[in-house]
């Protein structure tokens, strides 16, 4: 079976890989046979995924040597050559797919990446969607598909380019048995059409692995057994592969294992129903998640819900716990109708969610104590109960550690302990064993069986493992929101006359989906006559088609994300209004009042001199000093004037007099302006008086200064601010959006498409950048329109010059965002990092406040090279100074240099492999 004649498809020599402290892959040395189905088996976290990613070239090799398709995967050149022949489907349902894109758009995207022409692409997509049964759903968004359909879609995307090596990482985890069977049949048909193709699969389902040609069993980063399934069974002397796996484990781990002892449930006389559900339905919009589900669970029974991801198990459980109010139907817990507001029934139920939701920041003990207290346990009983649970669930060793540091199996026990802390009569467990290794899973089941039989706890559990379902007293098979059958596992098998529960389940499923299945699983063989020579994505330096396929996809995704779209579209306009109105240096309508102790015509005239200007508004006069103090403290007055007694008399006599003025200094900037105004008015009044008294001769001065406020003769804020705000906003928002665009792919996992498809780094970057450049130009036009029509600041110079500079500038801004995204790993870091790295230089060093010519040292250097400086010059020049292209030509040069430099840096720093 091992294809002994042909050379291996992949050869691994001493391959090791570390993530920080943990050794994920430990000196693996295997030869993987070609043209066969090869399985990597073992529980989660043993290094299967890492090994497959290494073979696919998605992850960079740290130590050892990997040869795939007769070449060294450490060589970038070889990877570029073979990547059109390899297809890689990463773990996680639809992880490399784009949730908001439709089925067709997803496959189409991959088709474009591999360089198929339109006709060829459409033919292939139609064929693949037909074979996989996805044709009726071509316009449904990938995020709304069921688990099985997502995996089929993933397969379509992987098969679009006729790979020679197909790498599937846990393709069937969480998928219902019928879809799983269809999936394998599909793979079989494809292999029949392309006999030379090698398929590498990682799986946690041992039943599946039994059908493969060759297996590698993994544990703790090592491959501890290889061979055909039959050989492995013979070597361990075991009946099933699961037993064989445990049997072949190293001694120490094998010893921890105890087979599960099942005690059958005896319905006692007092077997009143603990849970009863009648016709429960749940609809989200026009989607029915659960449809008329009814069942009854007796006290002390273990009742299982079996079904695929997204079939409505979790929703049903949530309705029973009161988390979701049902759209229709009723449910009773211990004879009481379920009422979300009835806090008392909650005390009788323990609930364990799918993700073992624990507080990662609290220690094991703190988690237990918190839950005990929230369930209202008396203070003095808490320590004893926590101790008891820790002993029972074997948590004592790590009672003061954080859950995140524990292996999955222990976290699962902690989660159960937390759900049990208040000694509930019923446990609702939502897929408590997914991802946990077989040894831990069996230990967990033993605990549950003990709870049910000894403590008479009712257990309602959901699972997608068949062998676990067999251990339940009764099970319900669920599919697409409906319960297909509800009975004892043995009875279900007997009714259908099937050997295994899986076969019986598939029977029921087949019946339920009926006509849908007929269309979904066509038996027609996959046409072998594919034109493999057709446009196999020649690895040219720059392919416009691949570039645009990324642009298209990015634009589609952006249009379907309301928050990002609002931010991109309206963000700059909102911020422009805020900044335009908010950062005003005009001081107008200042409240002032006068303490006039002279009360003459002259003193009143002095006050009138102030209130007559547009800057000041006069308030009722002040009577005494105490009032002056109080009214300034409430900030009612920004300025208070005191005119001394005998003011008019003293002036007439020529005796020097002093007018007192108090300015509110709480806002220094405003106070300075007020000071300037008051002084100006005062001297103006003096000069006028002097003219009255002494005639023209008195005004003789030594010299005068004619001040010309150029470009903005009124010296108002808006004409000064608006041209400065536009460059800042056009830097900030486009940079944040592009930074998010790349990091988002890193977080969601779709970045893997960059690693394993022929798209080059430059195509990827430019493709992603293009939609944002277009958006930024639209927002530039919007900002200019706001400036002209709302703020009434006209563009006095050449609009064309301004637009040209803006175009170069937004390319630089988006490239800067891309550059930042090559460093950071999380979207939050990208967001705040970009905000700081763009706002600070744009505001401080780009001439918005202090001209660049006045800066020194690092600030001056930053100011000279930062694009904002140069665009700001053009913006101010064209808006306020009525300049033309020839006047600001010099500012274009740095922008023209910045664009290729930034994009070049991004290309160099972006990794084509995960490290």
């Amino acid at each position: 079976m091992t294809g002994s004649g042909s050379p291996p498809v992949a050869r691994l020599q001493n391959v090791s890989l570390r993530y920080g402290e943990t050794l994920a892959v430990d000196a693996v040395r295997i030869d993987i046979p070609a043209a066969s189905m090869v399985g990597f088996i073992g529980p989660d976290g043993v290094g299967k995924s890492t090994l497959l990613a290494l073979i696919a070239g998605a992850r960079a090799i740290q130590r050892g040597k990997i040869e795939v398709l007769d070449g060294d995967m450490a060589s970038a050149r070889h990877r570029r050559e073979v990547c059109p022949h390899i297809a890689y489907m990463p773990q996680g349902l639809g992880k490399n797919l784009y949730a908001t894109l439709s089925v067709y758009e997803n496959v189409d995207f991959f088709g474009r990446l591999f360089g198929h022409a339109r006709a060829e692409r459409e033919r292939r997509i139609a064929e693949l969607l037909y074979t996989t049964g996805l044709a009726p759903f071509r316009d449904r968004p990938a995020g709304k598909l069921s688990g099985g359909m997502k995996q089929k879609l993933g397969l379509c995307c992987a098969l679009i380019h006729d790979p020679d090596l197909l790498i599937l990482d846990e393709p069937t985890t969480g998928v219902d048995p019928l879809s799983r069977r269809q999936f394998w049949e599909l793979i079989e048909r494809i292999r029949a059409a392309r006999p030379g193709m090698s398929v590498l699969i990682a799986t946690a389902y041992m039943e599946e692995a039994a059908r493969f040609d060759w297996l590698a069993a993994m544990n703790e980063g090592r491959v501890f057994a290889t061979g055909a399934p039959g050989e492995l069974l013979a070597r361990a002397g075991a009946r099933t592969l699961e037993e064989a796996f445990i049997g072949l484990l190293p001694q120490a781990q094998r010893e921890a294992y105890r087979p599960v002892v099942i005690e059958r449930y005896e319905a006692g006389a007092d077997a009143e129903p603990a849970i009863e559900a009648r016709n429960l339905s749940m609809r989200f919009g026009d989607f029915t998640a659960v449809e008329r589900v009814s069942f009854s669970i007796r006290r002390g029974e273990i009742f299982g819900f079996l079904g695929s991801n997204g079939c409505g198990k979790t929703t049903t459980m949530k309705m029973l716990t009161g988390l979701l109010p049902p759209s229709e139907g009723e449910a009773w817990l211990f004879g009481q109708p379920v009422d979300p507001h009835n806090i008392d029934t909650r005390r009788r139920v323990g609930y364990m969610t799918q993700s073992f939701s624990l507080y990662g920041e609290l220690t094991v003990r703190q988690n237990l104590v918190l839950h005990a207290r929230l369930f209202g346990m008396a203070q003095e009983r808490v320590p004893a109960r926590v101790q008891e649970m820790a002993e029972r669930f074997g948590l004592q060793e790590f009672i003061d550690e954080l859950p995140a540091s524990l292996p999955l199996g222990q976290r699962q026990r902690l989660s159960l302990a937390v759900a049990m802390i208040h000694a509930p009569e019923m446990l609702i467990l939502d897929e408590p064993t997914s991802g946990v290794d077989p040894v831990a899973r069996d230990a967990f089941w033993q605990i549950m069986i003990d709870l049910a039989r000894r403590d008479n706890v009712t257990i309602f559990i959901s699972t997608h493992f068949m062998n676990e379902a067999e251990r339940c007293d009764r099970i319900s098979l669920m599919h697409a929101g409906k319960v297909l059958v509800s009975d004892k596992p043995a009875t279900i098998m007997a009714k259908r006359g099937r050997e295994t529960l899986e076969e019986a389940f598939i029977d029921y499923l087949g019946e339920a989906v009926g006509e849908e299945a007929a269309g979904a699983a066509p038996t027609a063989p996959v046409t072998a006559a594919r034109n493999t020579a057709a446009a196999q994505g020649r690895t040219r330096f720059l392919s416009l088609r691949r570039l645009l396929s990324y642009s298209r996809r990015e634009a589609l995704e952006l249009m379907r994300d309301p928050i990002r779209l609002t931010f991109a579209g309206l963000g700059s306009a909102i911020l422009m209004l805020v900044l335009g109105y908010g950062i005003s240096m005009d001081v107008e309508d200042l409240a002032f009042a006068v303490l006039d102790r002279d009360q003459t015509t002259l003193s009143r005239e002095y006050a009138l001199n102030l209130s007559g200007s547009r800057y000041f508004i006069e308030r009722p006069p002040i009577r005494d000093h105490a009032e002056l103090d109080r009214r300034m403290r409430t900030s009612e007055l920004s300025l208070a004037i005191e005119i001394p007694p005998g003011f008019a008399r003293d002036i007439a006599r020529g005796t020097p007099v002093e007018i007192g003025a108090w300015v509110d200094g709480a806002m220094p900037q405003r106070a300075e302006t007020v000071r300037g105004y008051v002084q100006g008015m005062h001297y103006h009044w003096l000069a006028a008086k002097a003219r009255e008294v002494y005639g023209q001769a008195a005004t003789t001065q030594l010299a005068t200064i004619e001040t010309r406020f150029r470009y903005n003769p009124e010296v108002t804020s808006l004409p000064a601010m608006v041209p400065a705000v536009i460059p800042i906003l056009l830097m900030l928002i486009p940079a944040i959006l592009t930074a998010l665009a790349v990091v988002r792919e890193k977080e969601l996992g779709s970045i893997v498409n960059l690693y394993v498809t022929p798209v080059t780094r430059l195509e990827f970057l430019l493709g992603k950048q293009l939609p944002y450049v277009v958006l930024a130009m639209l927002s530039f036009l919007m900002l200019v329109a706001l400036a002209i029509f709302v703020f009434e600041v006209p563009v006095k110079g050449s609009f064309l010059t301004l637009t040209g500079a803006a175009f170069l500038y937004v390319i630089a801004a988006t490239a800067l965002g891309l550059l930042i995204s090559t460093f950071v790993r999380s979207q939050v870091a990208a967001l705040f990092g970009t905000a700081v790295l763009t706002i600070l230089p744009a505001v401080q060093f780009s001439g918005m406040i202090d001209p660049v010519s006045a800066l020194e040292g690092a600030g001056a250097l930053m100011g000279r090279i930062y694009p904002t400086t140069h665009f700001l010059n053009v913006a101010r020049g064209t808006f306020a100074k009525a300049l033309e292209f020839s006047d600001v030509r010099a500012s274009f040069v740095p922008l023209l240099i910045a664009v290729p430099v930034l994009i070049g840096l991004c290309t160099l720093l972006l990794k084509k492999q995960e490290r």
Binding site: R346, S584, M585, T673
Partner: protein, 373 residues
Amino acid sequence: MRAANVLHLGVKELRSLSRDPIMIVLIVFAFTFAIYSAATAMPETLHKAPIAIVDEDRSQLSTRIIDAFEPPFLLPPSVITHTQMDARMDAGLDTFALSIPAGFERDVLAGREPALQLNVDATRMSQAFTGSSYIQSIVAGEVNAFVRRHQETAAPVVDLALRMRFNPELNKSWFGAVMEVINNITMLAIVLTGAALIREREHGTVEHLMVMPVTPFEIMSSKVLAMALVVLVAAGLSLALVVEGLLMVPIEGSIALFLAGTALHLFATTSMGIFLATIARSMPQFGLLLMLVLMPLQILSGGMTPRESMPDIVQWIMQAAPTTHFVSLAQAILYRGAGLTVVWPDFAALAVIGAALFALSLARFRKTLGAMA
């Protein structure tokens, strides 16, 4: 509602926060370095402004004038020709250009009252205004001193004694430091509560809470109280240690009264944090929303520029924002030493806004819990 539940959940929030290094760094940074740098880096209005002089007189007096311009207010002047002037101003190299005509000194001494021309780039608002009056006074001073050797000038009859209340030297670091505290209180209140709820949702622990005998009101109250407490303590320490201690800014009024006002403000802003977290589906979305919400709240609150110079409609809308009232009461208490008799209207407004925001967020929190779980 059971107070014990709020207490236990509140303690849990504090424990979670204490194990989140990023948030701790953010809190410490916001209340120490950020305040220190805001206070010390607050730009002076006129700092090293570039000036150019066209000297067509080349006399003793014109040389004296050129030499009179010195840092820190102005850069040493560059002496240029008349033809260069326009191009340099267009390119934004100079903010000021002073032109001294030929025969200036002779005309001054002859009492012919000659005119100097000062060109100002008024697109640089902040420098244009203060800078031109500064330059005028320097020029006048030099001319006076030069001429005084020849003739006596009369002192002005009416003097104007200008005094700055509350900040006699118009020290900008006083303003900068306190405003930074105020802004960071708002920012952290929203970020901490929002992040606490989103973290809970991302880890799936919200649905766990919902099946326990605790109500949404208790869950939300515990977050609001815990995060408000953290920010309140941090703000109090920061005022005492950084603002008063390190930066030596004199605080006129009662810190206790200010903290009481802060508590009311935190009630409103932490509720707002919850509200935003129910709209955003993830931390990145929350971050984008935060930028769109926080910037108007802070910039239009009157904390950066005076409210009276904003359009009426903006002033009117901003009456509904908690920051407006908080900034107003904080400035009154901290700068002007106002007491409760003066600031009670702001306290009342904050209480009303806080209650409304809390009720709104609670309603939304209840509604979205099903979707979260």
